[in-house]
Structures are given as structure tokens and as C-alpha cells.
């Protein structure tokens, strides 16, 4: 595998290898010297067209723990802000010897375009409303760590599926790994064509909860209300927000996830976000290990 553009790029065997490798690399984080020499001499470029502090820092930490040279290229104030095209930026990175480019972009498919212009690896760190495959990997890692397995798990993904790259990547990866996904949202926030996805859909969160091992809440952007995807924040929270009474409908062992950043009180109640069932901070920690594994597997084996 040269690039990681979509969760579809991962077979069950490859995805499992990433998760297993992440498990081994996670031990490094617990050491006093949090560093391996694996990618010494390699250059990883973080190319961020969108602000995303947590994803950028996560990739940066992952690359540095593997001893790679990290260049963070933020678009603000750069030649890109002056109108340089994505292709010209790609050719510049190529000329500078980038072995891997981690790209976050507001346009769906931008990493696919980059992959066509670069010899090195491209890792999709979130593109528009398309995918965020390393988020799906860290979510799967977290589920497996907490519940011991992925095959047969019942996962409810709740909220703005229409605009969510996290949901798209999770549906694909979890299907590949044998979990059953139910998408829960108002009909306005489910894409036309969702019936072709390997997931079931529901408009009724309360009906789905008793049979869920995992509830993954998605961030809802408040500006969606202006576009009439739902009538009000209050109504959304009432119908699709995860509060304490709803959590009580979950099986005893079930966990609550959120990719962050959260709208506390909207899609998730504060007491739920901070409860022992919540894996939200674990997801952040696991993100570094999973991204180390991805970089290691994409770059580690090459000369």
C-alpha cells in the first residue's frame, strides 16, 4: 500500500496489522524516552489547508516519535494563500524530497489528486465531507481495546452523517472488520444514496440504544440549523442528543465515543462525556499510536 486515502484502501488483514502495530507502538508512549529510530532520515510533511490542531499535533507527535523529520506546512501566510495551486504545491514538496505528505483539505478528493502528482505516500488527514481514515482506525483501536473485539460489535453512529468524514470512514472500516453499523440521524442529515452503504439506518435513537455496544456521537455544526437541516438546537438535542437517561438504555458494557471537538449539551451531555463509559480522551491518546503505525507501515519498509 502506497497511500492511505480512504478506509476502502484497507483490507481486513491490513487494518488488523495497523491496529496490532499500534498496540506495540503504544508501549513507546509509556517510556521515558518516547522515541524510536525507525523513520530516521525520512521527511514527513503535514500539509494543512484547514485548521485542525488536534489532528495536526497527533500526526506531528507520531512522526517525531518515529524520528522522522517533520515539516508542518500551514496554508495561512504561505504561497498557497497567495493562490498557488495544489499541483504546484505538490511539485514543490516533491522537489524538497517529502517521503510522506499528510494532508488535511476542505475539498473532498484533494488527497486523491495529490496522490496522482507525488511519488511519495499521501495520508488523508480529512478531506471535505469525504473521509478521515486514521480517525476510523483510532476509533476501531479504541473499541477493540475496550471491548476486546470488533467482529460482531453493534455500533451506532449518531448525528450529522451527511457532512461527516468520520462517519464515512468508520462505516467502511467497521464493515471490513466485521462490525454492524447503524446510522442514526434525522432524514435530512443522511445522504441520498446511503442505502448503498454497508450499514442500516434509523431515525430513532431510543430504539437503537438497547442493542448497541458502541454509540459514536458526531459533532453537529450549529450553522446547519440555518440551512434547516433541523428546526432548532433544542429539538435536535431532545431527539438525537445523548443524555444520562438515554445512556441508561445502553447495555452495561457499552461505550460512548466522540471524535471531538464536542458541543456539550447539544449532541452529548457533559455528564455523559465525562462518564467512565466515555472513551473520548482515550481516542486522542490512541490517535498517536495509530498514526505511528500508519507512518511506520507506509514508510518503514522502504529503502
Amino acid at each position: 500500500m502506497q497511500h492511505l486515502l480512504s478506509a476502502d484502501d484497507l483490507s481486513a488483514a491490513t487494518a488488523t496489522e495497523v491496529l496490532d502495530t499500534a498496540g506495540e507502538l503504544a508501549n513507546v508512549t509509556g517510556r521515558e524516552v518516547k522515541k524510536l529510530p525507525t523513520l530516521r532520515g525520512r521527511t514527513v510533511v503535514n500539509l494543512f489547508y484547514e485548521d485542525s490542531t488536534r489532528t495536526r499535533i497527533s500526526f506531528e507527535a507520531a512522526a517525531k516519535r518515529l524520528s522522522a523529520d517533520v515539516i508542518t506546512f500551514s496554508v495561512k501566510g504561505s504561497s498557497v494563500a497567495k493562490g498557488e495551486s495544489l499541483k504546484d504545491t505538490a511539485l514543490t514538496l516533491q522537489a524538497m524530497g517529502a517521503d510522506a505528505v499528510v494532508v488535511r483539505h476542505g475539498a473532498s478528493g484533494a488527497p486523491h489528486r495529490l496522490a496522482g502528482w507525488l511519488d511519495g505516500s499521501v495520508i488523508n488527514a480529512g478531506d471535505g465531507t469525504h473521509e478521515h481514515p486514521t480517525q476510523a482506525l483510532l476509533d476501531a483501536y479504541t473499541m477493540r481495546a475496550r471491548l476486546g473485539r470488533l467482529a460482531g460489535l453493534k455500533v451506532a453512529i449518531v448525528g450529522d452523517v451527511l457532512h461527516s468524514r468520520v462517519a464515512r470512514s468508520n462505516v467502511r472500516l467497521l464493515h471490513t472488520l466485521g462490525a454492524d453499523v447503524t446510522l442514526v440521524a434525522p432524514p435530512t442529515l443522511l445522504p441520498v444514496g446511503v442505502s448503498a452503504w454497508p450499514a442500516t439506518t434509523s431515525y430513532d435513537l431510543d430504539a437503537v440504544l438497547p442493542d448497541s455496544d458502541v454509540v459514536m456521537m458526531l459533532r453537529v455544526q450549529r450553522e446547519r440549523m440555518g440551512d434547516s437541516y433541523f428546526p432548532s438546537v433544542r429539538e435536535y438535542a431532545r431527539r438525537y442528543g445523548l443524555d444520562a437517561p438515554r445512556v441508561r438504555r445502553l447495555p452495561e458494557h457499552a461505550i460512548v465515543m466522540h471524535p471531538g471537538p464536542m458541543n456539550r449539551g447539544m449532541e452529548i451531555a457533559p455528564e455523559v462525556a465525562d462518564s467512565p463509559r466515555s472513551t473520548i480522551t482515550e481516542q486522542v491518546a490512541n490517535g498517536v499510536s495509530v498514526r505511528m503505525a500508519v507512518l511506520y507501515l507506509l514508510l518503514g519498509g522502504k529503502g
Binding site: S85, K87, S108, R113, G193
Partner: protein, 425 residues
């Protein structure tokens, strides 16, 4: 003026015969015509069609001469077998005055490769707010008869009604780009399974169909002529079929790419497949093909939309929509419909000429007819090489594809614009 004797050609799929072109007209048709002083063209195995007429071309001049000029677009048209093209109004400045349409018309005359018939904008600046001086454009040297805000929909129903009514005074037609703008805000491709997977905002079929339904009712109400540009959905076909059955004066066109390509081509995010309206589904393609066959869709029009490399070699979301079409339309139509020459001549020449009011075009080669014609080698196979296209732009969705048929020669008023597959000037 040279006279030409075209030997052994099949006229619109008929038996082999000879054609003599003299003084801008077809002088004689019959077997074994004497050579006399004519230049002889051996056309055995070739098919003669009335010169093709494109109702929907973007020539980009004035304003975006880096993408196309009237001259380069005219050459691409001639090489594609066209003798007339209708140049859309979304230039810069917009063709919304007599001055701009006359400029485009004169540039076409100067290029001299095809008749360039300007389309006038329906509204000032294509802004959809108030009518352009439609009458002045109709009375100009360009004698505009088709008015369109193509690229934009005339969305205001009252303004659309007024436009339809007003152009009745000079037998004009409003060519509508049917796209309900609120339903397509941010739209990037056809709304369906593929857009859901790719995370691209969908352009729903109903956004086209809602406008067609509305405009057919308006045209019926005021008794005016309505033309629907680049129809792309099965639902649109049914609406047009129903309107025609009621006697509404509505005509419609479809592009070659909507007859051949589907939305799954978007999978690699290559903006060469980004077009407006977007590529639809197999079901839509099947319905469009059937509608061309049964005449519900009158015209195959290219929507030739040249764009520079910079406007296409970028992220999908930022790329301009549009594809080249003039040099590949006949081959694509041939690949879809086979050698049904009567059908191809009708949809690619006779009907568009009739609807655009281009009286010298769209007439089968027959004694006394204007010598606007195209000779096609149906046995040839051509691989589309973007670098070899005459357009100033390279955005063809057919790169590397082998297509049937090759335009061997094109004659405009008896003079060749293309011979042996090459532009004469």
C-alpha cells in the same frame, strides 16, 4: 470558386452516388457524373451528411481567450464536421447587447470556418434580474433568435414568463439551463450513491425537473417557444414527453457526454468529468438514448466548454465544470446509436438548424441545396488524443478512448474547411 465532384458517396446512408458542388450549392446528384473541370474527391465508402449544427457551444471570446477563441473553436467545429455553431452568451463581457453579439458574429465571419450564430443573454449580465435588450439583439447584424442565460437558470418565474412572451415578437426561443438554484447550492456532482460515497454535495435530478415542469407550464400558458438545454435525467425526459403530447412548443437537447458517461466516472475526483448538469446514472443514460431515438429529444448538442489546464488541474471542488465536445460529438453519437445516418443527420444537423433558424443549414445534400456538408468515414476508428485537438483547451473526457468514425471533409457553402481530416486554414 472551385467546383468539387465527390465520387461514390452515400448520401445519408443511401446508395453510392456522385455529388457536384458548384457556386456554393449542390449542383448535381447522380451516378457517374462527368469530371469536367472539377476537383475530384474519391469518397467511396464515405457517408455525406448535411453539415452538423451545434446549438450549444462556448467559444469563450470575448474574455477567456486563453481557453478558446472564436477562431480556435471554429476550427475544432469544422474538424468535428460542423458548419454552424451557436455561441453561448456567458462571455466576458456577457453577450447581452447588440454590440457584443455583433462582435462575436464578426469574429466568426473573419474565421470563416463555420457560421457562428451568437446566442443572446436573456437577462443583463446573466444576473436573472432584468431582461437584456432582446429586440436589439434580434435586429442586429447577428440576427439573434436563441436567448439563453446558459450556465445560469432564469430562476425567477415572472421574469421567465416575460422573456418567453417577449421573444414571440421575433420568433425567438428561450433556451433554459434548467437548474433550481436553491436545490443545487454547493452541488458538485449528481446526487446519489456515488456522491454519498465520495462526500461531494449532490445536484439532485429534481432541481432540473422542477424547472422544466414549471417552464413547460409557462410556455404553454403564453404560447411561446421553450428550448431545454442539456437535458440530463430520465424524469426530465418524461416531463418533456408529456408537454409535447399536450402541444406545448418545447424542444430539447442532450449532450454526447450525457449519452455515454455516468456518475461513477467521478470516482477518482478527476475534474475532467465535472460538468453542469452533472453526469447521471445508467438509468438516466438509457432514458436519454431512448428519447433521442423516439424524438422527444430533438437535438444532440455539444455544450463544448473549453477550460484551461489551470482551471481543471486542481481540486474537484474548485474546478470549473465543462467538457470539450465539438471534435468528438459525431463519433460519440455514432458509438451510441450506430450507423443510423438518418437519425444522426436529423439530431445533429436538421433539427438544430431548424430550431436555431439557420436556413442554409440542416438540409440534405440534394440539387439546389446549400453545399454545407460533411463527409464521414464510418469504418475508421479514432483514438482521442487531447494534445491533437484543435481547441485551445484540453479538457476532453474521452482521452485515450477509441471511437468510431472520422470526419474526412467538411464543406461550408461549397468550400472545404476540412480535407483529408485536416483543417484547410
Amino acid at each position: 470558386m472551385t467546383s468539387f465532384l465527390i465520387k461514390g458517396v452515400s448520401v445519408v446512408g443511401g446508395p453510392a452516388t456522385d455529388l457536384r458542388l458548384r457556386d456554393g450549392t449542390v449542383a448535381e446528384v447522380g451516378p457517374d457524373l462527368p469530371t469536367t473541370d472539377a476537383e475530384v474527391i474519391d469518397a467511396a465508402g464515405l457517408v455525406a451528411l448535411p453539415g452538423l449544427v451545434d446549438m450549444h457551444t462556448h467559444l469563450r471570446e470575448p474574455g477567456r481567450e486563453d481557453a478558446e477563441t472564436v477562431a480556435t473553436g471554429s476550427r475544432a467545429a469544422a474538424l468535428g464536421g460542423y458548419t454552424a455553431v451557436c455561441a453561448m452568451a456567458n462571455t466576458d463581457p456577457v453577450a447581452d447587447t447588440a454590440g457584443v453579439v455583433e462582435q462575436v458574429w464578426r469574429l466568426g465571419r473573419r474565421a470563416g470556418l463555420v457560421d457562428v450564430q451568437p446566442v443572446g443573454a436573456v437577462t443583463v449580465g446573466l444576473r436573472g434580474e432584468r431582461l437584456s435588450e432582446l429586440g436589439a439583439m434580434a435586429e442586429s447584424a447577428a440576427a439573434v433568435r436563441i436567448f439563453s442565460d446558459d450556465g445560469h437558470c432564469v430562476a425567477d418565474p415572472r421574469l421567465m414568463r416575460r422573456a418567453l412572451e417577449y421573444v414571440k415578437a421575433f420568433d425567438g426561443v428561450i433556451a433554459q439551463h434548467a437548474e433550481e438554484p436553491r436545490l443545487t447550492e454547493g452541488a458538485q456532482m449528481h446526487e446519489g450513491e456515488v456522491s454519498a460515497r465520495l462526500g461531494l454535495t449532490g445536484w439532485p435530478a429534481v432541481a432540473e425537473e422542477a424547472i422544466i415542469a414549471r417552464d413547460a407550464l409557462l410556455a404553454e400558458h403564453v404560447g411561446a417557444r421553450l428550448h431545454i438545454c442539456h437535458v440530463s435525467t430520465a424524469g426530465s425526459v418524461e416531463l418533456i414527453r408529456a408537454a409535447k403530447a399536450r402541444g406545448v412548443r418545447v424542444s430539447a437537447e442532450v449532450t454526447p457526454h450525457h449519452l455515454l458517461l455516468t456518475d461513477d466516472r467521478v470516482g477518482g475526483y478527476d475534474p475532467v468529468f465535472k460538468v453542469n448538469p452533472p453526469l447521471r446514472t445508467e438509468r438516466d443514460v438509457a432514458a436519454l438514448r431512448e428519447a433521442v431515438r423516439d424524438g422527444v429529444i430533438d437535438v444532440i448538442a455539444t455544450d463544448h466548454a473549453p477550460h484551461t489546464v489551470e482551471d481543471k488541474e486542481c481540486e474537484w471542488a474548485y474546478a470549473r465544470p465543462g467538457m470539450l465536445g465539438l471534435q468528438t460529438a459525431l463519433s460519440v453519437a455514432l458509438s451510441v446509436f450506430g450507423p443510423d445516418w438518418r437519425l444522426l443527420a436529423d439530431r445533429l444537423s436538421c433539427q438544430p438548424a431548424r430550431l436555431a433558424g439557420l436556413t442554409g443549414h440542416g438540409v440534405d445534400p440534394a440539387p439546389g441545396a446549400p453545399a454545407n456538408l460533411t463527409l464521414v468515414d464510418p469504418a475508421a476508428q479514432v483514438t482521442v488524443e487531447p494534445a491533437e485537438l484543435a481547441s485551445r483547451s484540453r479538457n476532453t473526457p474521452y482521452a485515450g478512448l477509441q471511437l468510431p468514425g472520422r470526419v474526412v471533409a467538411t464543406f461550408l457553402r461549397g468550400e472545404p474547411t476540412v480535407l483529408d481530416g485536416k483543417a484547410v486554414k
